[in-house]
Structure formats: C-alpha cells, structure tokens
Symmetry: C2
Subunit: 316 residues, 2 copies
C-alpha cells in the first residue's frame, strides 16, 4: 500500500517547523484520568499559534511552495485553516486570499482579519465555496492550499503527534478528531512509526459521521447535511486522507453534541482551558462507557485540536 505521505515527510516537516510552530504542552488531570479510567495525555493544540493545529500544515505547505507562493496563497475554510494560511502567508511576506462561509465563527473571522488577509465570504455550501474559490484564484493567480487533501498539509499536521510521542513515552492508543482527515492522517503515520503497537482511533461528531460510515462500508461516503456544534468537522474525507485512515484506524468513536459540551466543561473546570467543540471530541469519546470498556489501553494520547470559540458560545 502506498500513501500520499510517509513518515520521512513528517520528520522533515518537524525540522522545518522548529521555531515556527509552538511546541505545545501535553496536559493531564487526575480528575479526567479518574473519569476515563485510564491515563489521558492531552496535546494542547488549542494553544498553538492561531489557536489550532492547522498552523502546522499551513506553514509546512507555504514553506514548500517556494517561488510558487509569490502571487499569494488562497484557500477556503470555515475558520482555523483560514487563520493558519493567513498567518503563514504573512510570515512569508505574501498576500493571503481566504474564502469563508458567511456562517464562520466571529472569532475565526477576526483572526483572519488580524493577519491582514483578504476575505471573500460565500454561502455555506460546497458549490458556493468551489465557485467562489475558483473566481478568486483566477483573479489573483495565487497558489491554492487545500485544507486537508494536500500531502504537505498532512505531513505538517502529523508533527503534533510526532511531538506528543517523542515527549510522553509509551502509549497504548492515540486519538485525533476527524473532519477532512488531515490531522488524523498525519497522526496515523507518525504513530505507526513511533509507536508501532499503539491503536489509532478517530473521534467524530455523530451529526457528521461520514468517516465512521465510510470505514464501516469500506468506501468513501461523502458528508451531505452535517448537523453538529463541531464547526471544524463538517467536511467529507478526501482522496488522500481516506486511504490513510482506512489502512490505519482501529475504530472511530462517534460523540453527541451533549457529550462534547460536557468535555468542554471538564476541560475548563479542571485545566482552565477553553477548547472548541471540534477540539473536545476526543475527550468526549474517551469518556464514553463503551470506550472505557476497551481493554489493553492504560495510557492514551489525544489531541485537543483547537480552542477558538466565540465567547458568547461558551457552554458555561
């Protein structure tokens, strides 16, 4: 089996991103361990620059564009990838052109604005997103960086698990959220190399469970009408991410919005951190009774993938 990204790509991304991305801490809480029935080590990408792991993939991709970045960078994103591309382009000294749905959380829009990118809003549909992006690309000549179906983006996202596994020693399992699958693809490849026996799980909102259905069916099933508070996990898997996930995952744990809200509250109360709904899915999954019953997992590493929540959207 041959995938779009190998471990060497992640290793070289980790070197390339040294001093660019923030080496986020790994947090733990005795209370959360008690509730989960096992040790839970949380990689805090909510504390990453722009408040999400997305800055890893975007920075890696912008760096690797070389001269191809000179006319600027364009992407479409509901938020965190948008902020990430905006900041990566600014660091590189080239313009960023971002297509965002008009439903994107304010805090993410403000983040993009603060990094001086040009925003074009569109209706929150796949079609509007594509046609709007095509128009922007034609007008500007910018290079497009897909939010997840891009090997350099996937390799960059894999550096979060790379750091986690380097830092904490033996893990019996690793889990990351699934939207388009970029983070979990990178996580899978890093984990399979650095912890060959660790089980790899995805966490997915039950209101956008295309990856769980794809895994069950053995073929890529697109997401049609997602319904969840996890605004970062609404998209379908991609052509590059699907085969990686299919070949690595032990399973996908789906979580309800109520379970996500409970996980957000626990993270606030016990760790003083605001984690966005998408970012709290893994903790929600780890706290489910059916996950608790799984044997052979004494220590699990999970990724808190982002922390951008509109203050008025806080569930506490």
């Amino acid at each position: 089996m041959s995938h779009a990204v190998g471990f060497a790509d992640i290793e070289s991304a980790a070197l390339r991103l040294e001093g660019v991305v923030f080496r986020t801490p790994v947090a733990s809480s005795p209370e959360i361990d008690g509730l989960a029935g096992r040790e839970v080590l949380m990689k805090c990408e909510n504390l990453q620059h722009v408040g999400a792991f997305k800055f890893r993939g975007a920075s890696n991709a912008v760096e690797l564009l070389g001269k191809g970045a000179e006319k600027g960078i364009c992407t479409h994103s509901s938020g965190n990838h948008a902020q990430a591309v905006a900041l990566a382009a600014k660091r590189r000294g080239v313009p960023a052109y971002i297509v965002m749905p008009n439903t994107a959380p304010k805090i993410k829009v403000q983040g993009v604005v603060s990094h001086e990118a040009e925003i074009t809003f569109c209706e929150p549909t796949l079609e509007a997103r594509i046609t709007t992006t095509e128009a922007v690309l034609e007008r500007t000549g910018a290079a497009f960086i897909h939010p997840f179906d891009n090997p350099h983006v996937i390799a960059g996202q894999g550096t979060a698990a790379f750091e986690l596994l380097q830092e904490v020693g033996k893990l019996d399992a690793v889990m990351a959220p699934i939207g388009g699958g970029g983070l979990l693809s990178g996580t899978s490849i890093a984990t399979r190399k650095l912890a060959p026996n660790a089980m790899i799980f995805g966490a997915e909102p039950s209101g956008a469970d295309d990856a769980a259905r794809s895994l069950a069916a053995g073929e890529l099933i697109p997401q049609t009408s997602p319904d969840t508070i996890c605004d970062g996990l609404l998209t379908s898997l991609g052509e590059l991410t699907w085969p990686i996930l299919r070949d690595h995952l032990e399973g996908i744990i789906t979580v309800s919005d109520d379970e996500v809200l409970r996980a957000m509250k626990l993270l606030y109360n016990h760790l003083g951190m605001v984690v966005e709904p998408s970012g709290a899915t893994c903790l929600a999954a780890v706290l489910k009774p059916e996950f608790n019953e799984r044997e052979g997992i004494d220590r699990i590493g999970i990724i808190l993938s982002g922390g951008n929540v509109d203050p008025e959207g806080l569930p506490f």
Copy 2:
C-alpha cells in the same frame, strides 16, 4: 543581607517537584509583542495543576513537612493556595483542613471540594480568618502552611521563574504579580542568580497597592481595605517576603481593574487562554505606556499566575 530563602532552596525544590508539578509552557503572541513594543514571554501557570502556581509552593512545603504532616495540613486562603494544599495533601495521603472566606470564587471552592478537603468558611476579615484557623488547628492537630510567609512555599514558587529562565535564554526583565509576595520573592531569588543583570518588577492592582506604598516608604505598610477584581492579590506582604522584595525590586507597576480586564481579553483572543484577574496583572503592566517607555528591555518574561475564574465572571 540574609533572606529566608536562597537559590539552593529553589534548586532543590525544582528537583523535588519534578514529575509532581506540571512544567508549564512559555507562550508568546506576535500581536501582544506588537502592543507591548517588545518581546513578551509568558510562563503559563494558569495551566499548572489546580490552575495556579500555588501548587508549587504547597507541594514543596507538604513534602518537607515529613512526619509533621501526619495529622493533616491546614491553611487559610481565598482560593488558589487552598486548592493547592488540598491536592498536595491528597497526593501525600493526609487530610486537608481549609479555612476560606465566604466570598471566595465558586470555582476555587469547587476545586477544594473536588480534592476532598474539609472546608470551614469564615467572614472575609483578617480577624475571622485567624480565629477560625486557630480553632481548626486546635481541633485537628494539623500542621499549618502559610500561603506565602513560609520559606518552603517561597522556594516552591521560585521554581516557576527557574523553569522560565532555563527555557528562554537571556531576559532583560522579569515580572510577577504581588499579593503576599511569595511568588515574586521566589521569582526574585531565582532571577538574581540565573539572570544577574535582569531587572525585576512586580505588578500590583492599584486597589491593593500596599507593596508599591511599602517600597516607596521603605517599610512594610499593611493592606487595609483592598478594592480590586484581583481576588488573589488582596493580602499584605509578610515578614519573610517584604525584605526579599525590598532588596531585589527595580519597581512596582500598579494597574487598574480596567487595564486588567483588557489584558484578560487579549489573552483570550490571542492565546485562547482564560487567565484570572490576578494572573493578568503583569500583562496589564507591560502594556502601560509608562512601562513601554522604559529603555533597555527588549525581552521580558512575565508570569501568568493563575486561571481560575468563575465562568459568569468572564469579561467577554
């Protein structure tokens, strides 16, 4: 000049606390650097266990009590030291008896409860605090750990700056908040040894500015009726902390509650972290025009001392 705590005490505390306290990350933000006009490196003790640096001092003191801890530990505190002692005692396997003012933030009371300590509430006056604590000590035979005027507590608190200075290299200045002065005393001693030329500053709410007045007068002036949202910084300096601060500080920057609220919002918006009012005083101080005008400070390290805010008290 001889002080209650020397650098060797902090060094041995750092060894003792390895694996006990969380080695918190040092965060930075290009936006905040821009506003401050210099590089600002923030030691995130808001992410420490119990959500504040206090766990360092409490753990060091409980460890060093040896057999003296067997009948339990007692303290009085409006919140973070209470939670810290409760968790340190629980880890040690001895009971904790906490005297708290009935005005303490709910989130801090809940923290103490979750660590299974016995709470005795009292009126929010110095007198009630003392008589209630004496009664608890008599009833239980527990060992008392003062929130700041205890050499083992001061040495423990100094490990935050010890880690910061180890990690970030050269700093031109270091700043910590002042309540009773335990954190800033430990910070001063660690800094004078590890960065002999760095200026040492305190940040203090203007509504509880006893330390600034003491420094100006050259003698300890007690705090009488504090009026500030910084609920962790209401107390007077102590007999051990005052001489340490007097002999080390370059100056104290006082900040208004509005300046603190602005700093809290910036930390939420740019770093996704909820920092409590007391914990945001240093950033508020660094952003003041009069501090900005000081020369010779290209890089400053500050301590975000805690993150426990009642959700309904968030200023955003």
